[in-house]
């Protein structure tokens, strides 16, 4: 589902936003530390801060529907993954190591676009949950006429 080039891009430390929704179809938006593409290339794991993602985690427990958008801020290259959650758990040591790596990459990105380190390094990402989802569709999301185009759908 996710080829090597795309997996490298998605795991390169990007700005990461997550959307979920509740039973009344009211959406929720939260920022996350990043995503890890699993070995089967069909699943991805996103790392959600425990406190700021309470509503998101409740939504996922209710219906499991998730969308994750990752953007490379210096050139706005953006991809969206959509899918259904298969596992939610407290982050393990390995998860924390990955989240820390992604977060460090993101901090570099926002410093590149002008955010002072004094502020960028204050962003909290721990303690976090690891949320694994089956990737059902991948979308081009770079701003422009092709934004929203479906790049790939799971069989």
């Amino acid at each position: 589902m996710i080829d090597e080039t795309l997996a490298d891009f998605l795991q390169s430390g990007l700005a990461c936003a997550v959307a979920t929704r509740d039973a009344r179809l009211v959406p929720d938006c939260v920022l996350a530390a990043g995503v890890r593409i699993e070995r089967d290339r069909k699943h991805a794991t996103v790392f959600l801060h425990d406190t700021i993602s309470r509503r998101t985690l409740a939504n996922l427990k209710h219906n499991g529907q998730i969308a994750v958008t990752l953007e490379h801020l210096p050139n706005h290259h953006t991809i969206q993954l959509k899918g259904e959650v298969t596992r939610v758990s407290k982050a393990t040591e390995a998860d924390i190591a990955d989240a820390t790596r992604f977060h460090a990459g993101f901090v570099k990105e926002i410093e590149y676009v002008g955010v002072a380190p004094r502020f960028s390094r204050r962003l909290a990402f721990l303690p976090c949950h690891a949320v694994t989802f089956r990737v059902e569709a991948i979308f081009e999301q770079t701003p422009g006429p092709k934004a929203g185009a479906c790049l790939k759908e799971a069989p």
């Binding site: 920022l31 700021i52 962003l123």
Partner: protein
């Protein structure tokens, strides 16, 4: 709602991309980043729509969305739930939001390709501070609470005092050159802005030319911008002020869209990218039109490397000053300056210093004058310079009056509103910048003398 939307004003500057989540009727969420959310009032925001995308389709099915607003400095975040009310396709709000899009489009060569489709208005249903998003930092809290920099030490009456000082300096200016100096000096000193320029509008050529500037070093006078071209040209055409925070981010956003258009059927409509005026690394700009009696007089442009240098407050405050300056400029341009009745030629002609030479070349094709092979000036100021240089070198005279320039049909000054004074100021500044040993020195009202420390040689060339 415990948090007021107006408390989050800094989050609306467009510095940090805002996440927006929507949901289709079949329950699939969608999330993307927005470049700009506009504050309207305590209960409403507007989002710009440039493409009919998934967000727009979801909103048509299910009008509720959630946005993630982040403070551009401290990174403190708020989750805001909004509900779509309506789209506007014309009117003041549409025009204001379209201007910002037009500027990005113009700078990235996408005029007519990348444009605002609608200004979408949303009602704010809920504002929730995101606790725990940032680690505490006392210094950041202090920065957030600081008042605008210019009046930090002057108390609440500081703003009025500053406006009064600016107004006094503008009112006292006895000629156009002093007026422009007063405007630039006041705005740069009072607002601690290092980079500012005034461009005047040449109606006959539909172009703006830089008359004077601060913070760009020598050589800025005379730089031109076409009406509608880039940030300054767009403000001149719309006659509406425009504030851009984090210009670099806007340009990156525009370039991302351009890459998408390059591969589409509209690729042939793309044109070259236009560099930003002035500072190549400016992060924020405030450009104000100078409009008097519904006519465009020029533009006041301020720039800073600080992405949050200009706020709503600066825009409103400086607009008052710009309006007053515009009226004063228009009055000075329109009134025929009374000339001293004494005949020309009473001042003493200077002799050139030994061994100093300057070679001027005139290119009639575009009325351009070069000095020692370097471009100096063109168009009407070029023709004026060439006239006075020829008469000076022939030994006939070294003093000239504005009246005789107006009477000289060969110069081609427009019969009404000729802006002669601003063209002479520009010529004088270009000489100061490019060859300071040749000077235009006012000798009395409406008259000037040409002085030269160098021996001058003149030639004409048909080759451009």
């Amino acid at each position: 709602m415990s948090t007021r939307l107006s408390e989050l004003m800094d989050c609306f500057q467009g510095v940090v991309p805002t996440g927006i989540a929507t949901c289709s009727l079949d329950g699939r969420p969608n999330v993307t980043f927005l470049s700009y959310v506009k504050y309207l009032d305590e209960r409403h925001v507007a989002l710009s729509c440039q493409f009919f995308n998934k967000t727009k389709r979801n909103i048509a099915e299910n009008p509720v969305a959630a946005i993630w607003l982040m403070h551009p400095v401290t990174r403190e975040a708020h989750r805001v739930v909004i509900r779509f009310l309506r789209s506007e396709f014309k009117g003041p709000l549409f025009d204001e939001m379209a201007l910002r899009i037009d500027v990005i489009a113009s700078h990235t060569g996408m005029s007519g390709v990348f444009k605002l489709l609608s200004a979408d208005i949303y009602e704010v249903l809920e504002i929730e501070p995101v606790e725990g998003h940032v680690l505490p930092d006392a210094e950041a809290a202090e920065a957030l609470a600081a008042p605008p920099v210019a009046f930090r030490a002057k108390g609440t009456r500081g703003e009025l005092a500053a406006l009064q000082a600016l107004s006094d300096r503008i009112s006292r200016a006895e000629c156009l050159e002093r007026l422009i100096e007063a405007l630039l000096d006041s705005t740069t000193e009072l607002f601690e802005v290092q980079h500012a320029m005034v461009l005047l509008y040449d109606e006959t050529r539909a172009r703006l030319y830089t008359l004077d500037s601060r913070g760009y070093g020598r050589g800025g006078s005379g730089a031109e911008v076409g009406l509608g071209e880039g940030l300054i040209g767009a403000v001149a055409r719309s006659r509406k002020p425009l504030r851009v925070s984090h210009a670099g981010s806007d340009l990156r956003y525009g370039r991302a869209i351009r890459r998408g258009v390059e591969g589409s059927k509209e690729a042939d409509k793309l044109s070259r990218e236009i560099p930003l005026p002035g500072l190549h690394d400016a992060q924020s700009q405030l450009v104000l039109p100078l409009v008097a009696r519904e006519k465009l007089v020029g533009v006041l442009a301020l720039e800073s490397r600080d992405p949050l240098k200009f706020s709503d407050w600066h825009e409103a405050f400086l607009n008052v000053a710009a309006n007053q300056a515009a009226l004063a400029i228009a009055n000075l341009q329109e009134q025929e300056e009374p000339e001293d009745a004494r005949p020309a030629g009473e001042s003493q002609r200077l002799k050139p210093l030994a061994g100093r030479k300057r070679a001027f070349t005139f290119y009639p094709q575009d009325d351009a004058v070069f000095v020692d092979g370097q471009y100096l000036i063109r168009n009407l100021p070029g023709r004026i310079l060439w006239k006075i240089l020829r008469e000076f070198v022939s030994g006939k005279r070294h003093e000239f009056t504005n009246r005789e320039l107006r009477m000289d049909n060969a110069l081609g000054l427009p019969p009404l509103k000729d802006n002669l004074e601003s063209r002479l100021i520009l010529l004088r500044k270009r000489l100061e910048e490019k060859c300071p040993d040749v000077r235009m020195v006012p000798v009395r009202r409406g008259a000037f003398a040409l002085e030269s420390d160098s021996e001058l040689t003149l030639s004409e060339s048909a080759q451009p």
